[in-house]
Amino acid sequence: MTEDEKLIAAEAPSKAAIVRATFIALAVALVILFTAVLPAEYGIDPLRTGKLLHLTGISQSDSGGRATPANAGIYTLQPTTYKVDSEEIGLHPGEGFEIKYHMQKGATMLFAWKADGLLQFELHGEPDVKPKPDYFESYLLDKTGKRESYGSFTAPTTGVHGWFWQNKTKDDVRMHLYVSGFFDTAKMYEAGAPPEELIIKDPE
């Protein structure tokens, strides 16, 4: 034991003080856990404090939306007009590119893209209301590379949703993307530059 430690031991708090402090620490932690952390992080709200303090929205913008993406049925009415977009992109070896569409929660789009070489990609999205500044959700990640991908996508949250592609081959790759559906706007992204709005007209 060092001199300093002896000094501290001599002035150490009483047994009762230590027990009291430990129980206070546990009690305060439990109160914060149940009133704030559990509602905000997991949407568990036993005391209704999360609802009162509007904390439950934080977790619901994440997993809550994903659980019920759209109404099941023969038709689904959509909040915005039908739009069509077509983009042709050339990627040199090592280059990456991102295009995302702003969609309302539950809005659907159909997509098809086809390339003359392998492209790695990630289908992902960022809700408008994010629990953290750099929050995003990954829907589909392909690291082996594909030449084409077709399908439909229903937005789990209101926000921007789209693809990041990257050419990891040694040759140039050209890719053609077709998207149609109920998105509001389209943007493309490059690192170091502000997102650029793509001009999309409603079909005549």
């Binding site: 060092t2 300093d4 430690e5 501290i8 031991a9 002035e11 150490a12 708090p13 009483s14 047994k15 003080a17 230590i18 027990v19 402090a21 430990t22 206070i24 620490a25 546990l26 305060v28 932690a29 439990l30 914060i32 856990l33 952390v37 559990l38 992080e41 997991y42 568990i44 977790s59 994440d62 997993s63 077509s86 983009e87 042709e88 992109i89 050339g90 990627l91 040199h92 090592g94 280059e95 990456g96 590119f97 790695q120 990630e122 960022e126 953290k132 500044p133 750099d134 929050y135 995003f136 990954s138 690291k143 990041f164 990257q166 990891k168 493309m188 490059e190 690192a191 170091g192 793509l198």
Partner: protein, 232 residues
């Protein structure tokens, strides 16, 4: 419409550095970081160095434990000894966890890390000596908890899903980055403690501070155990 634009990974690293959030969550990997790691192939010393340092500086669970460990250490020799033991512990499990592909449950590991904060705060209060009448070896405790902190770091790195290509060099870079971040954080804590120790009533405030530290530890345990029992 035709685009011919590219962005290279280096630009992404710079963007990630500029976007360094002041208080990132200890458990999330930012989008820029994740895209960088996904799209990275081969050795990338400095990016992983940076990510390691960033994880440590913004990881409040590791910091809370370190504050507890150095709280009553006055001599530089002691501080170096204890921090080295912690470093040894977490380096072993970080490297073994990622390279050996050991996948620990991150909730359980993070709950143990939370418990390590409770343990150290209780120790600092004199709980073991006064209340339980024995003092567990403090050096051994730091080493053992260091092992768990390393598993925590490993699970975070595994969430990034790093490619096998250049893995060893990248993990060692990440580990070195963790140590750099630790030195940065420790320096800040030591300066604050040094100033504080000159004030009267330090020991009384120290007791309250350790109670707060223990609260943080309990909170982390509850948060992580709930995550384990209630997967989102």
């Amino acid at each position: 419409m035709s685009h011919r634009r590219g962005f290279n990974p280096r630009a992404l690293i710079i963007a990630a550095a500029l976007l360094l959030p002041a208080l990132a969550s200890a458990h999330n990997v930012s989008k820029q970081d994740a895209i960088f790691v996904h799209s990275n192939n081969g050795v990338a010393i400095f990016p992983f160095l940076y990510l390691g340092a960033k994880h440590m500086v913004t990881g409040y669970d590791h910091l809370a434990f370190l504050v507890g460990v150095i709280f009553f250490l006055y001599r530089l020799k002691d501080i170096v000894l204890y921090v080295s033991l912690f470093t040894l512990g977490h380096s072993v499990t970080l490297l073994a966890g990622v390279l050996g592909g050991i996948h620990a449950n991150s909730y359980i590991i993070d709950a143990i890390i939370g418990f390590s904060v409770v343990y150290k705060a209780f120790d600092n209060m004199g709980g073991f000596q006064r209340l339980l009448g024995f003092q567990p070896n403090t050096k051994l405790a730091v080493l053992i908890f260091g092992l768990f902190h390393g598993f925590g770091l490993a699970t975070k790195l595994q969430e990034l899903d790093i490619p096998r290509d250049g893995l060893v060099a990248n993990i060692i870079s990440f580990n070195v980055g963790v140590e750099i971040g630790q030195v940065l954080a420790l320096t800040a804590v030591l300066i604050a403690l040094a100033i504080w120790r000159t004030r009267p009533g330090y020991l009384r405030h120290a007791f309250v501070t350790n109670t707060v530290l223990m609260t943080v530890g309990f909170l982390l345990v509850g948060y992580q155990l709930t995550g384990y029992l209630h997967p989102a």
